[in-house]
């Protein structure tokens, strides 16, 4: 095959146009609307259909030309060597980590960074933390969990309820939220120990939904869909952030002008610290026998058993530790928002967190961070698109997967080295069947 075959391309373009016409004529061309009387009527929008079909055809043609040109170039010089991108990405990943951490640490001090940017930073860091937490379960242990948001919810509600009923402070509740979420991790982990792959996925999804529905319907405890409001905001180790200033407040203690940004900056550093804790623990555990056992279990459960590794405990420990970080993140979410309701813990959240892990590259810390920045930051960039935003978000998920099925950083870093550190290409790394 050399160059573009105009006849075939044209034929394919027409076919694509025909398919597009079949797809879009009914659903875009015929818009059903509810009339004031309550009956439905149809509004036609044939120009829109024509535009879309035209775009699809043009896009298809452009793709053909692009592919033909790439093929021609590939024929001349073998550019499409596999692994070229991987080495680049590996190199980037090495320098990118410290650079990103530096930027994150200095972010509040950078001129032009206001409250909005910091809020966005907090959001991205929350997802990075959740991604790293889920990465333990999915990326390292190879257990496909579609209900991770449940632990986020357990953490958030633990803090909200403990603060509401017992007046516990945030600093006391943070570890408690983590412990409670870890406990739920074990509790939900037990029944699914024997399940594999997609069965595990659907049961974890079911557990996530069960917890959400219970939160929604147990009105006397959780306030149902109204949620819990007035959750205490965090204090700076006992010093509240107050606009009045004066002694005993954060601003008063340090003798600075009270400002609402102080609390945002504090929250920012708090989530940064929590995320870095997650990262640090993940990295340490990976180099421990427990982390190696997780990865070995992902690679081959039966071989693990033959080496005397207790699969049950190993799985439960992964569920537990992953859930614990979800719980920490949940407690943070509750104190940041001051208000929580079951609406924040729907399946789509689990899907987004899982997408971040997979898009980043299973098991790769830096990949997860980049994916969270791209997905959540990108989502925020498109906020002017309003209802189109989710459409773009979903399409981006599909495109990134098609482009790099193994995620941004697909290779694996060995945990221990005898002589020479080599990265392990993704073709060898299993993704687990559990």
């Amino acid at each position: 095959m050399k160059g573009l075959d105009p006849q075939a391309a044209l034929k394919d373009m027409l076919l694509a146009g025909l398919v597009a016409l079949g797809l879009f004529a009914p659903l875009v061309g015929l818009r059903t609307d509810v009339s004031p009387t309550g009956a439905l009527f149809i509004r036609t929008r044939w120009t829109d259909v024509a535009i879309i079909v035209g775009l699809v055809m043009a896009g298809r043609l452009a793709m053909h030309i692009f592919l033909a040109r790439r093929e021609a170039r590939a024929a001349m010089a073998d550019l499409s060597k596999p692994g070229r991108f991987a080495t680049q990405a590996a190199f980037l990943a090495r320098i990118l980590g410290p650079v990103l951490l530096g930027v994150a640490l200095l972010l509040p001090a950078i001129p032009g960074i206001g409250r909005y940017e910091l809020d966005l930073g907090i959001l991205v860091l929350t997802y990075i933390m959740l991604g790293w937490g889920l990465n333990i379960v999915v990326g390292l242990a190879g257990l496909l969990d579609l209900g991770y948001v449940a632990f986020y919810a357990v953490g958030a509600y633990s803090y909200a309820l403990l603060a509401q009923y017992f007046g516990f402070s945030f600093w006391l509740c943070l570890p408690l939220a983590g412990i409670l979420a870890a406990f739920w991790g074990i509790l939900l982990g037990f029944p699914v120990l024997r399940l594999r792959g997609d069965y595990l996925a659907i049961v974890t999804l079911a557990f996530g939904e069960i917890i959400r529905i219970v939160l929604l319907n147990w009105v006397s405890l959780t306030g149902g869909s109204n949620g819990i409001s007035g959750i205490p905001r965090p204090s700076f180790f006992g010093l509240p952030f107050s606009m009045e200033g004066g002694p005993g407040t954060f601003a008063g203690f340090f003798g600075i002008e009270p400002s609402p940004v102080h609390r945002v900056i504090f929250l920012y550093y708090l989530i940064l610290a929590l995320a870095m804790l997650t990262n640090w623990v993940s990295i340490r555990i990976r180099k421990q026998p427990l982390g190696r056992a997780w990865e070995a279990m992902r690679e081959d459960e039966i071989a693990c058993r033959s080496l005397g590794i207790n699969i049950r405990n190993t799985k439960l420990s992964a569920f537990m530790i992953g859930a614990m970080f979800g719980g920490f993140a949940g407690a943070f979410f509750a104190t940041r928002q001051g208000f929580i309701s079951p609406e924040s813990f729907t399946f789509i959240e689990s899907a987004i967190i899982l997408a971040i892990v997979v898009l980043g590259g299973l098991g790769s810390q830096i990949g997860v961070a980049i994916a969270a920045i791209v997905m959540i930051g990108g989502f925020e960039l498109f906020r002017d698109l309003e209802e189109w935003r989710m459409l773009v978000f979903g399409a981006a998920m599909v495109l990134i997967m098609v482009w790099r099925p193994r995620g941004l950083v697909g290779s694996r870093q060995p945990t221990v080295v005898l002589r020479e550190r080599r990265r392990i290409g993704s073709e060898h790394v299993a993704e687990g069947r559990g």
Binding site: L290, I302, L307, G308, V416, H428, V429
Partner: protein, 279 residues
């Protein structure tokens, strides 16, 4: 005669109506290489999977002797059998392909390392003597990599190794669990003649405790099709046919046993005629 290490006593295994193994008894002795052979469908793999805890036998007993005490293997869970002192390899190699050869060997030392790490908590906090334990584990892994000629490939992913090296790595990994009895499921399958000879030498060295420095002798139990390997290295051969034991003795005795010849010839599989494989 040496002390028994594994006693298989009236082992039976049923799958539905099929009796795959029928009242098989034999004994593997300490310091021996015991081979279980038989035509296809004789029940070798089933016996093997019962011993290594992947099947639970329908009836019968499996006693592992360690320091004068006997452990009833049929009562244990899969991973506890490994902990009791039985290590195994798999017919279709089961390494951790995305982990390096060295990592594979460290996973095999999971239990002592886990204890040293204070079940992960101590080691995360940087307490305990974990680094020393890990250094020792790496040193042990290194010895086994040297013993199996894989030291150059220590930092390569196991999945990238050629077939023969994967087989040896799997044996090294099993040995890193410090077993009393190493069970090998067709270790010579797919090896070329030169590799088979190397393998036989390695297995004998393991039996005599000379494979790697500081390693005690280890008894072996193997299932094998390759008669050359079996007859060359085994101290004792158990022959199964149709789920029943038909012969048990030294290679020379078994080779001369008319029932064994009948079983192999009866199957009509010429590759497995013992006479042909004998040198």
């Amino acid at each position: 005669m040496a002390a028994p290490i594994l006693e298989v006593d009236a082992l039976s295994m049923r799958f539905g109506g099929l009796k795959a193994v029928d009242e098989v008894s034999f004994t593997a002795h300490a310091g021996d290489i015991t081979a279980v052979i038989g035509p296809n469908g004789a029940g070798k793999t089933t016996v093997f999977n019962c011993i290594t805890g992947f099947y639970r036998p329908t009836s019968g007993r499996l006693r592992l002797h360690r320091d004068g005490r006997a452990t009833e293997l049929q009562k244990l869970q899969g991973h506890d059998i490994a902990r009791a002192g039985i290590a195994r390899t798999f017919q279709n190699i089961r390494l951790f392909p995305g982990m390096t050869a060295l990592e594979n060997l460290l996973v095999a030392q999971h239990r002592p390392l886990m204890r040293a790490s204070g079940f992960a908590i101590g080691a995360i906090l940087g307490l305990s003597g974990y680094p020393a334990a890990e250094r020792a584990a790496i040193a042990r892994a290194t010895r086994w990599l040297e013993a199996t000629g894989l030291i150059e490939r220590a930092d390569d992913p196991a999945g990238a190794l050629p077939y023969g090296q994967q087989r040896r790595l799997e044996i090294a990994r099993a040995m890193c669990t410090s077993p009393l009895l190493l069970c090998l499921d067709e270790p010579a399958a797919g090896l070329n003649p030169r590799e088979s000879v190397d393998l036989a030498r390695l297995l004998r060295a393991i039996r005599d405790g000379e494979a790697a420095e500081g390693e005690p002798p280890c008894s072996l139990l193997l299932i094998e099709h390759d008669m050359g390997v079996v007859m060359g290295i085994s101290d004792r051969v158990v022959v199964l046919d149709h789920g029943k034991k038909i012969a048990d003795g030294t290679p020379a005795e078994v080779r001369a046993d008319p029932r064994v010849i009948a079983a192999y010839l009866g199957e009509g599989d010429e590759d497995e005629v013992p006479a042909e494989a004998a040198p």
